[in-house]
Symmetry: C2
Subunit: 501 residues, 2 copies
Amino acid sequence: MAPTTVRPWLRRYETISDFYLSTEVVICGYGGAGAAAALEARRAGADVLVLERASGGGGATQMSSCEMYLGGSGGTAIHKALGMEDTTENMLAYITECFGAHGDAEKIRTYVEGAAAHFDWAESLGVPYKREAIMDRTVVPFTDESLLFTGNERAHPFNKIATPIPRGHVPSKEGDEGGRIFMQALMRHVEEAGAIIQSDARVVGLLQDDEGRVRGVAAKIDGEERYIKATRGVILTAGGFVMNRQMIEKHAPHVIGLGEPYGNQWDLGDGIQMGIAAGANAINMNECFLSFAFYPPAKLTYGILVNGRGQRFINEDTYLARLGHYAGLQDNHEIYMLVQNEDFELSHYMERLRIAGTGDTIAEVEAEAGLPVGSLQATVTYYNEHAARGEDPLFQKESNWVKPIAKGPFALVSYCPQEVKYPLGENPGYLMFTLGGLETRVSGEVLTAQGDIIPGLYAAGRTTAGLPRTAKGYASGMSVGDATFFGRRAGQTVAAAEQHS
Amino acid sequence: MAPTTVRPWLRRYETISDFYLSTEVVICGYGGAGAAAALEARRAGADVLVLERASGGGGATQMSSCEMYLGGSGGTAIHKALGMEDTTENMLAYITECFGAHGDAEKIRTYVEGAAAHFDWAESLGVPYKREAIMDRTVVPFTDESLLFTGNERAHPFNKIATPIPRGHVPSKEGDEGGRIFMQALMRHVEEAGAIIQSDARVVGLLQDDEGRVRGVAAKIDGEERYIKATRGVILTAGGFVMNRQMIEKHAPHVIGLGEPYGNQWDLGDGIQMGIAAGANAINMNECFLSFAFYPPAKLTYGILVNGRGQRFINEDTYLARLGHYAGLQDNHEIYMLVQNEDFELSHYMERLRIAGTGDTIAEVEAEAGLPVGSLQATVTYYNEHAARGEDPLFQKESNWVKPIAKGPFALVSYCPQEVKYPLGENPGYLMFTLGGLETRVSGEVLTAQGDIIPGLYAAGRTTAGLPRTAKGYASGMSVGDATFFGRRAGQTVAAAEQHS
């Protein structure tokens, strides 16, 4: 008899008689969060089954550079080897400023307090990290350094709130292979530890009993819906929903035309939908990471970004996600950069760029680009007056990036999202992924809107609203850092949970 | 025996044996949406029970001015009497522009096509409407006209997209009593039609059967939880969630410090929570109406609004909600107005205002207010140069509001939300209410995230994501218009629904 299903993504446990198998912990999704959870649960002695919809593990973490945003506790092992210091208070002040009212204070504190030790864990997997830092303004090192700035640490207002220190930790390897290196190491440990991995298995629903406890999952395996009991609990680590166009339209319509989905093809929100079906609270659903990576080359930072009114709107030395956030706020997503010839070079991450205007004078550029008459000229006159002294009174770009834009010829480069394309995306737009999902405690326990725990249900990674909450304050490494850090926590929690057979 | 409750806001129908009563239609909330639904359901012959948590009906609609945003079909009866024309296409173009990707095209079309007839319905209740329009830039008429501009119709870019026409319809009475007049008339009709009203009755859960059908409600009446069967269906019309601080923190943290809750004290999101518990999709949850009503007096529109960098950010002749939206985007919510003495008068809706700077020159004002040196001067120089010709090339404020700000003394008025207070709010901040809620069809049927209908469940008003979706394009009258229009629809739908006893 088919089990009762009041709604999609849910089956009534009491109506299921035929179980395919029973284990202690079922993990839905074998990316960074799921693998980290599996390893910790298995190490704590629990029987673990990982179900993965794709034909192999890795998830979005494997596609990434695997930067992890780590520090605090005096510094990570890399910080210490390089003679850098990062106090817990310093990192706490920084991340607290990043997310403001969006932040989850308990998650921030727990993460910061455990971040340096999390680095040791990552390294203990056999992932190579080199005690060398790259201090340039860049996105990922294509050389083999393992430490770099991946946020707004050196930019206003953050540099007034916390002492800048690079916190992006990335596996050492020339090229951009961090994700593959890390996930292969992590998955090898997971499998050696004895977790069972079932690929090509789509979890299609949670089994919830009449008391509200999650008791297992329904999964499509070999084309059939099968029921799997999880006596300690189920962990949802199925990624975000950036690939689910319908969910984007309903929850984050403002990114349509602005952001181009960047993630794993199965980031369809299945985990979030299952959690909601079981009574979970989904929060922060409109927030997305956005990457407006006009740099490298770093020297473009000498230019000024203006909107369709020729007005500046941000200090240009901020991070790609903050740039994306502010770019997204400009009317009609009109974003341009004015740069003088000596600082111009195509942005390395953009496949094509339109030059909206050129000229030997700002007036010529302005006219060719069709900006309101006199608008860009007024902006540049004001900027140059202060830039001559290395100052930027409006946005406080750091003085090392401030100089008059006075020597023509000049170019106005269009960074309107409909005109830029990253090699990583199929369509024009800034790269994006989602930052909303299930509300969880630091333990991984999933919460209802009333703040109650849903027994037997856990989650981590982009299936949750985790550490990073807005592009405005996002630093690269916060998502993989969060997913693996709280993935481990969830694995530990569920392994210690009482059994319900 | 207590019924099974897998989660808050839900009871398993099969476990309930003792019903307090059974009726055909149960409506949860007796505000504008609920009363409109009750009247239509009763007129269609259904037995109707309305449960209201407060000691009397009226809801947020009764607290409002009861503006309704109406037009199309050649014009409402008022438009026609005044010789004004408003085509359906014109109104459709306007509202479509208002909400962009946030809009629900089917709701917009349905509403626009039926809006003129909706006016006739409102008038047929005995609500007085005077065939007279007030064309001033104001918020509500304190004289007895019944028609006014309540949106951005005359402002850029809307005036290039649709022919401006006033669409705010308000009951005729000196003073601001529209909501009371309308709700008293509507509730009298509801009660004369034979609907049963139960006040002091808090609905605490939906009764859902194992097939997913909503079969009734659980309500706290006289201190006891009682079960009420609804054989045709349940309509959720319990308002939004602006009074629920926890929900605001989780779903719309960006309005904290910006918006001051404005609504009925029971706008706690109960209806939304119940819908979610029964499997509904909640969308648009981060969006709020915001009212930055610096006018009247209209002459303040001659001033220019600037942010903390002395930059303009909007055409000042736009509507209070659009002003609120753009003000909310400015860093640190720093918002000021520069005005020359002859145009200055305190904003009528603000209880107190701080003057951030005064002076006979812009330089003096700028220095006293502590704006970046030269920033306000550069803004004013550029503005005045074009204003001398009645032009505003940056924001296209209409020329009737454009003149140089050249005759001192000048004042810079702070509209930073933490420094303004409306008589209607308890704390500083722009007035706000929520625009997110359950996803519904135009029929009032409630949808799951998969787009399936939840049988037996209907909703309208601010419990839903309705016609108005963002402050950016909000026009007053859209919320009450939406609530009563789609409330009626929901009442008609449920009355025609098949019985399930």
